[in-house]
Point group: C2
Chain length 242, copies 2
DNA sequence: GTTGATTGGGCTAGTCTCAGACCATTGATG
DNA sequence: CATCAATGGTCTGAGACTAGCCCAATCAAC
């Protein structure tokens, strides 16, 4: 990765990650696992969703059927029907984390963690560096409050919502997409980490620090706060690499 | 973008940017415009390139033919033949910038600038935050020296190389790809900006500051140095939005 | 109940894309 | 000058994907 060919690797990477079906399954799984569509809610109607995803309804339906058979969705016909999310993130059990880490491979893991660190810090910095309108500030503080009031059941979903809103509030779709992508790549890991009260308290303090720095308009502090927050996760995961 | 639906927009975005042909043209144009394949050099052989891009040779050849007809490539048959890059970035003329900005639209422009700011600052921060081996440090300083010694003809290409090596040196392919993507989205803009000596001198100072901060292992300073550097470009472009 | 709007289910004809094989050209090498 | 390896040029049959259409089920409203 040190020589001239690094950029060839970067730019001449695969144009498509797989076929349309696979990519669609992946994308829907994103929406479900990131909690964009919460358990009990339903996906948009097939026709609308197909347009949004830029694929045909046939392909979308194949993907939905795969997720249905895998137990993520419950599809019901007729008016007020739809594809309802049944997936509830399982409570992490001992050994889950080690298994997930082993499944990913150390290279992908460090790549994902590095990527997440860069884009989330960048997003926080950018957001802190621009004047925050009152309503945007309200959104951020609302997400923080929601997260602090969350049950264990909802915690990961609302944590995701909080983190992603930082990127969304910058107003850059590209940045929001990058952060969503980064989050997804570590979501299996996060779901496998036991949620201990001491860790949650620690995270809550860090979340408040992030919001405070953003509201104060201090890019350096925002960057540091996010970095510190993510470093906690990274350090925990790195312990499993040795 | 402030409500719940922001994440729906983010996650349920199009699965594919277009058909395989269009995406391939775009990707090859990246390689050419970013100077990954310099003028006079040739692309890898079709068979190899098709495998790398994950597409069929037929589709790749259609893309190559399009770029040939558009004047970017000169394709020669036989041994030692290949698709040679003929494109040389044109010297910016007055009015180019205004036209390019108008073509992009203000929304896409601010999106691209914001995205670039976030990922490049994030990359510099990450790189500064990890111990730099001697050879990696040498690569970075080599790129800086190359850039400082560049002719006007080579400047943009080597500037790209310098900026991208920061992301590449983090060792994260995802981050490298994000930075390459960000750079590409502003490359037409950068190419339309007249290269004035005073600006080049200014940029050179900032580039040195970035390298110094990275080498010193100071993430905050690195982040600030990159932010300041990119802010110059952004400010110049924003002037065309009013 | 009947109706009507909304939603999933399914079919078909046509286009895009692919894998693989074979042909044509070039030019360094012996 | 003949050879041959590397490279672009071309064809074909199969599979993936799409657009558009109509059918079937459901359920609130009347």
């Amino acid at each position: 990765m040190l020589d001239e060919s690094a950029r060839l690797m970067t730019v001449l990477r695969p144009v498509r990650a797989g076929n349309a079906f696979e990519e669609t399954v992946e994308r829907l799984l994103q929406a479900i696992k990131l909690g964009v569509v919460a358990p009990g809610e339903k996906l948009p109607p097939e026709r609308e969703l197909a347009v949004r995803l830029g694929i045909s309804r046939v392909t979308l339906r194949e993907a939905i059927r795969a997720l249905q058979e895998a137990g993520y969705l419950d599809v019901r016909r007729g008016r007020y029907g739809g594809a309802f999310v049944t997936y509830v993130p399982p409570r992490p059990a001992d050994g889950d984390l080690r298994r997930v880490v082993a499944d990913m491979g150390t290279a992908d893991l460090t790549d994902a963690l590095t990527f997440r660190m860069a884009v989330e810090c960048g997003a926080a910095q950018v957001l802190a560096g621009t004047p925050l309108t009152a309503d945007r500030r309200a959104v951020l503080e609302r997400r923080l409050a929601d997260l602090n009031a969350a049950s264990l059941e909802d915690y990961r979903r609302l944590d995701t919502a909080f983190h992603l809103s930082i990127a969304e509030l910058t107003g850059s779709p590209l940045l929001a997409a990058a952060c969503a992508d980064a989050r997804l790549r570590v979501s299996d890991l996060l779901n496998a980490i036991p949620m201990l009260q001491v860790n949650l308290d620690h995270a809550a303090t860090q979340h408040r620090a992030i919001v405070a720095a953003v509201v104060a308009g201090d890019p350096d502090a925002a960057r540091r706060a996010v970095a510190e927050h993510l470093e906690g996760t990274a350090a925990l995961l790195r312990a499993f690499l040795s």
